[in-house]
Amino acid sequence: MKIKKILPQLLTLLFIVLVFGFFTMNAQENMSTRGLEFGFGFLNTQASFDIQFSLIDYDGSHTYARAYLVGLLNTLLVAFIGIILATLLGAIVGIARLSPNYLIRKTASFYIEFFRNIPLLLQIFFWYFAALRALPMLEDAPMLLNSSFMTIKGLYAPSPIWINFDVFFTTIIIAMIVIFFFARYAKKKQEQEGKRLPVLIISLAIFTGLPLLTFLIGGVDLSWSFPVIRQMSASSYTFDGGLKIPPELIALTLALTLYTATFIAENVRAGIQGIGKGQKEAAASIGLTPSQVLKLVVMPQALRIIIPPTTNQYLNLTKNSSLAAAIAYPDLVLVFAGTAMMQTGRAIEIVGITMATYLTISLGISLLMNWYNKRIAIQEK
């Protein structure tokens, strides 16, 4: 009986040790023949390559560690924008899938079937190499909304210039804290006295009112810097001022959003359909209005079904953003596992760091999700 339990475990252990031992021994040998030494010291040396698009201050004189940070931030930027847009689009399409209107329903399911069955890489290529290349040159681009230009080199939009931005930012944080405590107070009051306070309206008022006040008394000011076209030579133009969003970022965000939204839409639909008709009827029969039924009965239960698979999609989107390397958007994979590795030749360390980064993001979010799932799970007696 004991042998039966110990033997398979010993064999597994032996297998793992053998495989890892074989790999490490070879790696040590290979590295010593190439004159490399395993270590992360190279992170502090000068990177001496440029990155096209970066959120923080960076040029060739910074270190590899800084380049890694630039790549990571670019990845997180794409993932963040993609997640927000995909959630919005997915929720709309998912609800539209259940619409009583035949045309809306069919359009939504056409969209879902169309975009989810084409490889994401192909979609990214399509937007980047085919669709965005059809945009006008800098000098021919029409002005959109009196301020922006959509050109072959990317989107040029006005950028805000803040005075005392930190005051403004702190106020927003304070407003959020105030709203949090107010919502808790309102809930308590309802549970004790049965009185419902207009939480949404008051929260919105606090959220817009407090930051706006800082313009009047906090010395905060906002002005815009508009992109203005300038001729550099006979045929080359450039824009001064404003904000430049590179076409790589646009193509990547567009493709990731359209692709992931189809999966989120299916999750939303499944979640809403998963709520039994009896629940809605029971809620209506105790006198709740249709909007209350949706808010207090259907959505809390539907969210329980929707959120776990949707988080999975968020993770997929973050991991899929690594396809950026294919169109040269400087994300973590391109900057670090691409350029930095070519320059240093440290394959093991760099691929290891890259994988560990993604692994940390994934495991972190899934731990958070498990905790959340346990919290919202129905407590059965």
């Binding site: 070879n26 209107n101 490889p119 085919a130």
Partner: protein, 426 residues
């Protein structure tokens, strides 16, 4: 109540019905015609209206038209079903009209580009004179898109192998009843070996008087099929072992399976392929060389096996405890219980999940461009940089999109059918 009154008209008795019907149809047609003329003849019949309203006139007229024909129990069958389906409220009517206008706006130019103005005849870039798509490009490059750099005269070998593998796969459906028990053994063990031998000797060549073709020259859609076929048949048994391992009560087995699964699920495929390309050779003894294609297949197999394991685990968890208890009470051991009782039922439950994993696998294969293998999408990117054929990237991507869409869509429909077929009530 107010909304309801606003949404349905009161005068539904017969005297007024025809008037409102006719005026409704009239309004609706005016809206559509206005939009049509605006878009395709550059004339604006409602230009006397102010500019801001003018832009929305088709929508406004359409909604008014639909509002007028929204008559309850009109007695006309078509009208009733129309009202019920696309015209229940004013909001719905506005959405319906927007979609109709969008179709009018988008469909004709799309059809023109795809078919009507497209060029099909000829075999050089100069043949593309119309304003539409240049399908000549696809025609000229078709062999490259299907077989990559595989020599033209040798392509029958790829076709032959594919047909042979299909025949061997189909053979499973015609096995006599007394061999049925060995069917899964055939699919899991014998078929992969047969297909590997076929590909090794026929596609790769080098013996029996066939010219040797290196794997770097393989490519196109056939490579997509090869990579996804092998990854699928290898990742399935591996995933099954991992799923069993993860549910095992032996701690070392359990946690090593768990960490294996979580590791591969946590990293993007592109970094795995990077690893197989640049990191893996460092892990092998100096001088050993593993073919690129094999490295890629192994990488994708390990990656997808982790996902398959999670899918199968879902099936194992969904089985009621009674099944395990019943099998144990019959005196079955661990392996007998799983092979004869648990897995056959669990695998039936996870067919849709497995099909989804396989779909994801097919959609992931274009990523192998990272290691320099060019399947369909990679070939497209190569072809579009050819100086003789610049400027046709759109046609290429549309072509590949259609092919992938047909493959993935038919597979997802097939898996839905399987799901219905194997649905056993509990």
């Amino acid at each position: 109540m107010i909304i309801k009154k606003f949404n349905t008209l009161k005068f539904n008795h017969h005297k007024n019905r025809n008037i409102s019907l006719i005026s409704g149809v009239l309004f609706f047609s005016v809206g559509i015609i206005d939009f049509y003329l605006n878009n395709y003849f550059n004339t604006n019949i409602t230009s006397f209206l102010p500019r801001i309203i003018n832009f929305f006139t088709p929508l406004i007229f359409g909604v008014i038209g639909l509002h007028l024909i929204r008559i309850e129990f009109s007695g006309i069958k078509i009208l009733d079903s129309l009202n019920k389906n696309i015209n229940t409220t004013n909001f719905n009517a506005a959405l319906s009209v927007s979609i109709i206008l969008l179709i009018i706006f988008g469909l004709p130019p799309l059809l023109n580009w795809l078919i009507l103005d497209a060029n099909f005849a000829g075999d050089s870039k100069e043949a593309c004179t119309g304003g539409g798509a240049c399908w000549v490009y696809i025609k000229v490059w078709f062999n490259r898109f299907m077989y990559g750099m595989y020599p033209n005269t040798e392509q029958w070998r790829v076709n032959l192998t594919f047909i042979a593998v299909l025949v061997f796969m189909a053979a499973g459906f015609f096995t006599p009843t007394r061999l049925r028990n060995y069917l899964s053994l055939y699919y899991v063990l014998i078929l992969p070996i047969i297909s590997f031998i076929l590909i090794y000797f026929i596609v790769s060549g080098g013996s029996f008087g066939l010219v040797w073709v290196e794997t770097g020259a393989w490519g196109g859609l056939s490579l997509t099929f090869m990579v996804s076929f092998f990854s699928l048949i290898f990742c399935f048994p591996l995933g099954m072992m991992l799923a069993l391992g993860r549910r095992s009560d032996l701690p070392i087995v359990k946690y090593s399976s768990l960490s294996f699964i979580e590791f591969w699920r946590g990293v993007p495929l592109i970094t795995v392929l990077f690893m197989s390309a640049v990191m893996f050779p460092m892990f092998l003894p100096d001088g050993t060389y593993v073919d690129k294609l094999i490295r890629v297949v192994v990488a994708i197999t390990l990656f997808e096996a982790a996902y398959t394991a999670e899918v199968i685990r879902g099936g194992l968890q969904a089985l009621p405890r009674g099944q395990y208890d019943a099998a144990k009470s019959l005196g079955m051991g661990y392996w007998r219980m799983h092979v004869f009782v648990i897995l056959p039922q669990a695998l039936k439950l996870v067919i849709p999940g497995i099909a989804n994993t396989f779909l994801a696998l097919i959609k992931d294969t274009p990523l192998i461009f990272v290691v320099g293998l060019l399947e369909l999408v990679g070939m497209l990117n190569l072809a579009k940089t050819n100086p003789k054929w610049l400027g046709f990237s759109m046609e290429g991507y549309v072509f590949a999109g259609i092919i992938f869409w047909i493959i993935c869509y038919s597979m997802s429909k097939y898996s839905q059918n399987l799901e219905l077929k194997y649905k056993t009530d509990r």
